[in-house]
């Protein structure tokens, strides 16, 4: 019963919390750049404003263009719902392990890219082509991270991973550090953050994600933006859930533990958001063909994580 209840609460929690996370990143970046910056609540206002506007759809667009924002948003939302953040005792948690979460994000990307191609503009195609290329390198790295974690914990389910890490069986492993590094790099790439992509550029040939959603407006754009926000929150939660699960409640824990879990989760995610902003301020965007090196590095780190596991077993 609590599992079902928490499943439903969690659904709304992620979607309600996501804009705040993005607001925090933007505020921190603004402060670091010497600006005052907008309130962290500004993303909520943006989404609301977009929802109220009429949607302009290009003449050449098919119905896929209009339905893609819904598919994209729902699949990200679904993935974020399944990932345990506050408690592992949620009704939907066994529905998808980490491999399936990666695949759900694949659905998002697939339809965003198709939407980019639908209108038949050069910018849309450019964004779609680059996004699919970056993702095709990021996804293997992500799967290798999952492989190394599953070798360590004998599971690919996020809830079981949390339980495993909390049970204290895992010492200070080199592999864990390497896997964390790889996952951070993948998260940066998948969310289109600097140095892979710049979420705040327009009219530049460097943009990837923005180029795909260029033709969107009104409620459709609101959904696309919301999907990007939820995806950022999802990745931040994933990192905390796997590598710093302290505070996450288990099955049978009382409401106090749940509140503690909630507080711990929001604190961890907001801290990560601040770190992301600091990192983004420090580095410069790279050339598109350098991304292959960056993500190749992530893949190699994940592979090294696996090999170090063998080594530490043998010792």
């Amino acid at each position: 019963m609590t599992a079902l209840l928490w499943g439903i609460i969690h659904t709304w929690l992620v979607v309600g919390f996501a804009p705040l996370t993005v607001g925090m990143v933007r505020l921190t970046k603004a402060r670091l750049q010497g600006r005052r910056g907008a309130s962290p609540l500004q993303p909520y206002r943006d989404l609301w404003r977009l929802l109220q506007k009429e949607s302009v759809v290009a003449d050449s667009a098919s119905w896929l263009f209009r339905s893609a924002p819904y598919i994209v948003f729902v699949s990200v939302w679904l993935a974020a719902t399944i990932l345990p953040t506050v408690t592992t005792d949620m009704v939907m948690t066994p529905a998808a392990d980490l491999i399936a979460l990666v695949a759900l994000l694949g659905v998002t990307r697939f339809f965003t890219a198709l939407a980019g191609l639908d209108v038949g503009t050069s910018f849309g195609g450019l964004g779609a082509s680059r996004e699919m290329f970056i993702a095709s390198l990021a996804e293997p790295a992500m799967l290798m991270v999952i492989f190394s974690l599953s070798l360590l914990a004998h599971t690919t389910s996020p809830a079981q991973l949390v339980t495993f890490v909390l049970s204290g069986h895992v010492g200070l492993e080199v592999s864990v550090g390497l896997a964390l590094g790889a996952l951070l790099m993948v998260a940066i790439a998948e969310n289109g953050r600097i140095p892979i992509d710049n979420p705040s550029t327009h009219l530049e040939l460097t943009m990837v994600h923005e180029a795909m959603v260029l033709e969107y407006s009104g409620r459709h754009l609101a959904l696309m933006e919301a999907a990007a926000m939820v995806r950022l929150l999802l990745f931040l939660s994933l990192i905390t859930c796997v590598f710093a699960p302290w505070g996450i409640a288990g099955p049978g824990d009382g409401p106090l533990f749940l509140l503690l879990g909630l507080a711990a989760w929001s604190a961890k995610v907001l801290t990560l958001a601040v770190f992301l902003a600091i990192f983004e301020t420090m580095v410069a965007k790279m050339r598109i063909f350098r991304i292959a090196d960056f993500l190749g590095g992530a893949l190699l780190l994940a592979l090294l994580a696996i090999i170090f596991l063998y080594v530490s077993e043998a010792v």
Binding site: A58, D59, Y70, G124
Partner: protein, 669 residues
């Protein structure tokens, strides 16, 4: 019995098509006949599978075949599973052919061979001795070869036919030798005696190698795949669907039959080799597919990729079995069979949709298509479902089998040998790369062909396919969804097929329905049913919220494109520009891709030229060298034709001496 008579009807249909070629509705009649027969075969073998628990294997002896034995036919759960897996797409292709035959330039070259091709494939599956197996195998090869040549006026098809014939002959030769080795000197060619006499040592190694070469060349294992992307697209689309979706599965059947039933003494080393070969096949297949502009060639290369995935799973199964990890072996084999079924469905679907596009526009080049989603909504939707399924997107079927393969792969290091432990992560990277680039490849295929603005006049006026073709495409799309959303039911069924081979029944849902959790209660689970239901709930919520709180106004306007929208459809992203990042990063090493841009000097108003050169590493690097070697050797041998009589006599004499020496050496030892 019913299966046997159904197959005789297929044979008869082939002759009917020749005899009645002047009748007005002969194509429709024969194709409808094929539809009926394949449906009967599907239902019959499905009912057998449902009741397969009794362990009865009906068999028939027929008085033909080799002089010293009759022809054996037998049905067991493995062949029944493959009968289902190949006859569903065959039925759909027959239905499709009823409407599609009008679009063929020379349908009378296709219709008689189509039922014979089906007959050959079904024959391989029910064969119970090496002779019947090989005869049916050759029947399948030759009929499909003739089908490839049905468009005999095209130079490309003729070249494809030649390459295919050579590769098919090579494959059959390998299988012939493999069966010969298994049967031993006594010539016990029926499968029961082969099963009884286990091949060991060098013989077993040779058998596995030859079986891999023989079936791999038919399935499209790199580097034996070269004929596949030439031959599959050259045939009419419903035949391409069968060649890619079904005939490759018959080859997989042959491999499973040999490695897991007839000669089950395969060591883990061969599992490792298969896994590695599968990984290379998957990655290369998808990179080739990503570079293709021809829609059907792209699909054919994607078949190569999927065959790679199946080989990874089969290799894992063999390795696990050798190490006594029977549960994991069953998991890997279930994953392989699940993928076989899935690929049979979505590849037929994709080829049939591609056929509908070609019938409507006359174009196969992606850069001549575009905007078809508005003109051909049903075909477009079917292609989209197929593309999502093959890109392994949940909740469709492709993801389930890929998930199972990944689950098996992640347990690969259980096999405690350093080669496996280091090999499995490498294969994992290859598999993950293949999966990710497959999605990229199908975004490109669907996005360029169906979305955007029309790139040619033919695409601008295209119309959707006739009703029979639409039905034949909608049904597999629906099946893809069903196989994806109810994975536990399907994998339970497949687990009972695998049980006689591995002697362990995989429990696909340890956590109970609907959670697919084949390894253990904690090792990870997936439930497409729940994902589908929750996704629908969330989707409805989103729509309600957006429409309740937001504006519902919608306005159509010209595309914005940052203010400089181009009217020219050629200004859109093309197929080649879509794959440019991957081509720059991987293509420059794999395909030696070179891009050159010729810019006119400043002030000159002439057009700039862009040209792209790519080299096929396997065709040019391997096969052309083989061709060169054969030419040199035949040039040398050619001298033998111009000797004098005396020299010929001398040669015969020396040969005789040599033979006598060999006999003497054997007798003394």
């Amino acid at each position: 019995m019913i299966i046997g008579s159904a197959m005789v009807v297929l044979l008869a249909l082939g002759f009917l098509a020749v005899a009645g070629r002047r009748l007005p509705f002969i194509h429709e009649l024969v194709n409808a006949g094929c539809l009926l027969v394949t449906l009967v075969l599907t239902i019959e073998s499905a009912t057998y599978l449902m009741g397969a628990a009794q362990g009865q294997n009906p068999s028939i002896l027929l008085p033909f075949g080799l002089p010293w034995m009759s022809a054996h036919f037998r049905l067991d759960s493995l062949s029944a599973f493959f009968l289902v897996a190949i006859n569903i797409p065959s039925a759909l292709a027959s239905l499709y052919a009823i409407g599609y035959s009008h679009h063929l330039p020379e349908a009378e070259r296709v219709t008689p061979l189509f039922p014979l091709f089906l007959f050959g494939m079904n024959g391989v599956l029910v064969a119970d001795d090496a002779f019947v197996f090989l005869v049916a195998w050759e029947f399948m090869s030759l009929t499909s070869w003739l089908l490839v040549l049905s468009d005999h006026k095209s130079e490309q098809a003729r070249k494809a036919g030649t390459v295919y014939l050579v590769m098919a002959a090579f494959g059959t030769f390998c299988l012939l030798a493999a069966f010969g080795l298994m049967a031993g000197a006594g010539g016990a060619y029926d499968f029961a005696s082969i099963r009884a006499g286990h091949a060991v040592g060098l013989t077993a190694t040779l058998v596995v190698l030859l079986a891999l070469l023989g079936t791999g060349s038919k399935a499209g294992l790199v580097p034996l795949h070269v004929w596949l992307p030439m031959a599959h697209p050259a045939a009419p689309s419903h035949v391409s669907a069968l060649m890619s979706g079904v005939m490759t599965k018959v080859a997989i059947y042959g491999l499973i039959r040999i490695l897991f039933d007839l000669c089950p003494t395969v060591g883990w080393e061969w599992g490792f080799v298969m896994m590695l070969a599968g990984g290379v096949t998957a990655v290369l297949g998808v990179f080739y597919a990503l570079m293709q502009r021809d829609l059907k060639t792209l699909l054919a290369y994607s078949t190569v990729e999927n065959i790679g995935v199946v080989f990874i799973a089969l290799g894992l199964a063999a390795a696990f079995r050798d190490h006594g990890e029977m549960g994991l072996a069953a998991l890997a084999l279930v994953a392989a069979l699940y993928h076989v079924l899935n690929h049979a469905l979505f590849k037929s679907l994709l080829f049939m949709s591609a056929g509908a596009v070609i019938a409507a526009t006359g174009q196969r080049d992606l850069d001549k298509l575009g905007g078809l989603f508005n003109r051909m909504p049903i075909t477009g939707l079917c292609f989209l479902v197929g593309a999502c399924a093959i890109s392994a997107l949940p909740p469709l079927n492709g993801f389930v089998s890929e998930w199972l393969v990944f689950q098996a792969l992640f347990h690969g290091p259980t096999v405690a040998h350093w080669a496996m432990r280091f090999g499995v992560p490498v294969v994992g990277v290859m598999m993950a790369l293949a999966a990710a680039f497959a999605a990229s490849c199908f975004v490109r295929a669907f996005g360029i062909a169906f979305l955007g603005r029309p790139r040619s006049d033919a695409a601008r006026i295209a119309e959707d396919a006739p009703l029979t073709m639409q039905v034949a495409m909608v049904l597999p799309a629906f099946l893809c969804l069903c196989l994806g959303v109810f994975p536990v039911m399907v994998s339970t069924g497949i687990a009972s097929v695998v049980e006689p081979l591995i002697k362990v029944k995989l429990p696909p849902a340890i956590l109970g329905w609907p959670w697919l959790s084949p390894v253990s209660a904690t090792a990870g689970s997936y439930s497409a049913t729940m994902i589908m239901l929750t996704g629908m709930a969330l989707g409805i919520t989103t729509i309600l919220v957006v429409h309740h709180f937001g504006s519902r106004k919608l306005r159509r306007a010209p595309a914005w494109d940052c203010g400089h929208a181009e009217d020219l459809p050629n200004a859109q992203y093309s197929a080649d520009s879509f794959s440019q990042p991957a081509r720059r990063v991987f293509g420059s090493t794999i395909f030696a891709a070179r891009e050159t841009v010729d810019m006119p000097p400043p002030g000159d108003t002439g057009p700039a030229r862009f040209s792209l050169r790519m080299v096929d590493p396997i065709w040019d690097g391997l096969y052309m060298n083989i061709v060169k070697a054969v030419t040199v050797i035949s040039g040398l041998v050619n001298r033998l034709q111009f000797l004098t009589v005396r020299q010929y006599l001398l040669m015969m004499f020396w040969t005789l001496v040599l033979l006598l020496l060999i006999v003497a050496a054997r007798q003394s030892s």
